[in-house]
Amino acid sequence: MQNLKIVVTGPFSAGKTEFIRSISEIDVVNTERKISSAAERIKNTTTVAMDFGRITVDKDLVLYLFGTPGQKRFDFMWEILSEGMLGFVVLVDSTRPETFREARFILETFRAYAKTPYVVVANKQDDENAWDVEDMRIALRLDPGIKLVQCVAVDREKVKNVLLELLYIILEEMDAAES
């Protein structure tokens, strides 16, 4: 059996757990705990170690999805989770510009761990308060070459699209490496 891994990361409450839950064939194994910090109490629970989802491709191949904890004090987990990953997805809550700076920090940190392909995801695009994707690109200081994909993490089709975009980038990189 061959295993591949994609890491789903992003700031606190960006929608990482929902993202994995939407596509995983198993119930997401997560380690959510009640939130103790008042500042972070915009939801009731948070991931303290990792979320874990699985997509069985065929009898010989499994794709695992690992979601990182969003709170900064658990960032020691990030490097461990990024080891050997195929690529990563950075989820950003389009309705919370106050998290954009942290999203950039997470992106740079993961790029420093492993220069693997990645996509940045503007999540919660169905919310009326969601920022326009191109405005987010400027705010996140993303190079025009970086894929910024619109998403609603609870919508399986949108999540599929994000993963496909990442996989297409990997194929493109393979083509570029061979030519």
Binding site: V57, A112, M174
Partner: protein, 270 residues
């Protein structure tokens, strides 16, 4: 118990706070890549501050504060080789070059500048020696630490902000492609100009810092300022990902491609 450790774990403002609250008397020695510093305290108040041994004498301090001119400075440097700072101060006062208040004010500003500079030190072994005061030859002051502690805390906040804005020093910068921006029309200080002269996609921020003798905080501050002004930006080429074999369970390129295509087919079918 010895008061020793590393600034990485216990910051200078935390140390000053501790010394202030416990009204310590003695010397704090800090050894970092920027030099060896000594801060001395009496009953929790700052009495002396110095980094290294150069340019710490009274004539240098007065010259750099524009209290004496270059020729006076040169004469003093020749004459004071055998004189202590106190003796030099008396000489200057008696000769009418300066007043007691002026000298004290210069010394105080200099010590404050030393501590400010040290707030940018993020690493460095420190130890405190009780009763390690021996400043018969130096002019001492009696400065409350509270304001310095507040300033240090502010600087820590700034440092955290700069770290978030520029999380890695291993990135390279390039000039922005804004035809309306003309660097020669911008008001840059000497430090900024020196950094600008090294901006090149081949140089990482860390290399520029080394070349310009700026520490982590100083280089981040300059780079952040130049980025905010729209003059420079991260090098886009850095965005290119690299494929490596650790990503795959096989080293065979065709098999790797096959794995990706199988995942794509699977996800499409979900």
């Amino acid at each position: 118990m010895a008061l020793k450790g590393n600034l990485r774990d216990f910051s200078l403002s935390q140390l000053l706070n501790l010394i202030n609250l416990s009204k310590k008397t003695g010397s704090l020695f800090i050894e970092s890549s920027q030099g060896l510093a000594q801060l001395a305290f009496r009953n929790g108040k700052l009495v002396y501050a110095g980094i290294g041994s150069d340019e710490n004498n009274l004539s240098s301090i007065l010259y750099h504060s524009n209290r004496i001119n270059q020729s006076q400075y040169r004469v003093l440097q020749e004459r004071i080789t055998q004189m202590t700072d106190k003796e030099t101060g008396l000489l200057l006062i008696n000769a009418g070059y300066s007043t007691y208040e002026e000298i004290l004010s210069c010394i105080q500003n200099y010590y404050i500048e030393v501590v400010r500079k040290m707030f940018t030190w993020l690493e460095g072994e420190f130890h405190f020696e009780n009763d390690g005061l021996s400043f018969e030859e130096k002019i001492t002051i009696n400065l409350d630490l509270e304001n310095l502690i507040v300033e240090g805390s502010r600087q820590i906040k700034e440092w955290e902000h700069l770290q978030e804005e520029i999380p890695s020093l291993d990135l390279a910068m390039q000039f922005s492609e804004h035809p309306d921006k003309n660097i020669s029309n911008m008001n840059l200080n000497v430090e900024e100009w020196r950094v600008v002269s090294f901006i090149n996609p081949k140089n990482t921020i860390r290399q520029i810092a080394r070349a310009t003798h700026l520490n982590d905080m100083e280089i981040r501050r300059v780079i952040y300022g130049l980025m905010q002004a729209g003059m420079i930006e991260y090098v886009h080429a850095e965005a290119s990902p690299i494929l490596h074999d650790r990503m795959f369970p096989t080293k065979d390129r065709q098999q790797q491609r096959s794995l990706i295509n199988r995942i794509i087919d699977k996800i499409r079918s979900i």
